[in-house]
Subunit: 224 residues, 2 copies
DNA sequence: TGTGCAATTAAAATATATTTTTTGATGAAA
DNA sequence: TTTCATCAAAAAATATATTTTAATTGCACA
């Protein structure tokens, strides 16, 4: 364990949110969570406060916490920003990255490629989600800017939440593995423009896929 | 008052941090703050948790909270990122902004120009800091992207902390008022390239000033 | 005089108890 | 039936108490 109870709760809650274990706008009851994690309400409130600052949770005075909402508009806005920052990281990383960086990229890609994408229930497997996050983080890592990485990480986290909503719709009609491989190859070849183009396409494609799933889900809800 | 105690504490603490009322790396004792604000320790912990997620405060398990450190390296990194995002906001705002936006910019600038920059003790006056923050926010506002604004606000907040460190060194050898006026004029003329150039110069100049003050302060500390 | 160890103090972390606020239900009056 | 007011239950917010952990002090011993 990495230390305090509140820290553990924060990490687990965050992971659960990113994995889509709670629905958007769902109420997060303090005492319920408290008994679920078997810690005091104080620890829960503290964890929720941090998640609120991250934007993964919303807080309304006197009426508690909820899972942050999702929307097509937000997804589009988020993706635009992500394209911006991810390509910027990539440019810098390709310019600055040394052999050690190349090595971590290759390693991260190997792990990603070798990890089965789907869990038995049709959702993304946790192992793949982790490998995927690590691969993208590895690409950006060598950008040499802590602030860039920080903003990147924030945006990536928010995107993960959407990613999970696109479980079923996604795979099959898309070759994410190829996209990742080409991305790696462009990076190793230090072909900045190609890498940027591929990254942009990759993120845009992800957005389109999620958007379709999101609209389908909304339509289903409205019909009911 | 805008509601709960924890909310109030969060806001006040944040304002104090941005105003430089606490020194970087200073210990933030929970119970001390509790009695200072005359609220329970829980409320303090909650506020600190949020500030931690914002990066204004650092938390170390089992040994509490401290004011986040500052450094020349961080300031440079922060400014690079700020140039990036502020100019991006500006481009979009100039493209999208309507008359209502122009109006708020003019209003914000008028207020800024009419507010005395220095308090009697040589630091920036709180009123000026507020008017300054509002002016820059107004410029970016019309960018039309919530995520852009969110990242911008985060970066701006961190910069405010540095700004205060540059109190004495700054004014006199710099005509910030002119820079702001020119910025407004370029924006009203919808001269995107000029506005971007001015904004970049404005932020870089701010960094240089702060950096000089920071180095001077460090040298003084080392000499002691 | 310095070094290591125990005892003490201080502070953080956690749990529990209390107060306040909101929400949902029930029933009376229009 | 609909609307409004009142009451009861639930949950959030806050305060207090307890436990755990880290820091400090003082003392014995080299």
């Amino acid at each position: 364990m990495s230390g305090s109870a509140t820290q553990t709760v924060y990490e687990q809650l965050r992971a659960s949110l990113l994995a889509g274990l709670y629905r958007p706008e769902e109420k997060l009851k303090i005492s319920e969570l408290g008994s679920a994690f078997s810690v005091s309400t104080g620890a829960i409130r503290e964890a929720l406060a941090r998640l609120t600052a991250e934007g993964l949770v919303t807080a309304t005075p006197q009426r508690g916490f909820r899972v942050a909402p999702v929307s097509v508009a937000d997804l589009r806005d988020l993706t635009d920003m992500r394209v911006e920052i991810e390509t910027k990281c990539l440019r810098h990383a390709i310019a600055n990255g040394d052999l050690a960086w190349e090595t971590t990229v290759v390693a991260a890609h190997h792990r990603l490629a070798a990890t089965p994408i789907a869990a038995h229930d049709g959702s993304f497997s946790p192992a793949w989600m982790l490998a995927h996050a690590d691969f993208h983080a590895a690409l950006a890592q060598a950008c040499g800017s802590a602030w860039m990485m920080r903003v990147r990480d924030l945006l990536f986290a928010h995107n993960e939440r959407y990613l999970d909503l696109a479980r079923k719709t996604d795979r099959g009609n898309r070759d994410a593995a190829r996209e990742h491989r080409e991305l790696m190859e462009a990076v190793l070849a230090r072909d900045t423009e190609r890498a940027v183009t591929l990254m942009t396409a990759h993120l845009d494609k992800t957005r389109d896929t999620i958007e379709a799933a999101l609209l389908a889900a909304t339509a289903m809800n409205e019909a009911r």
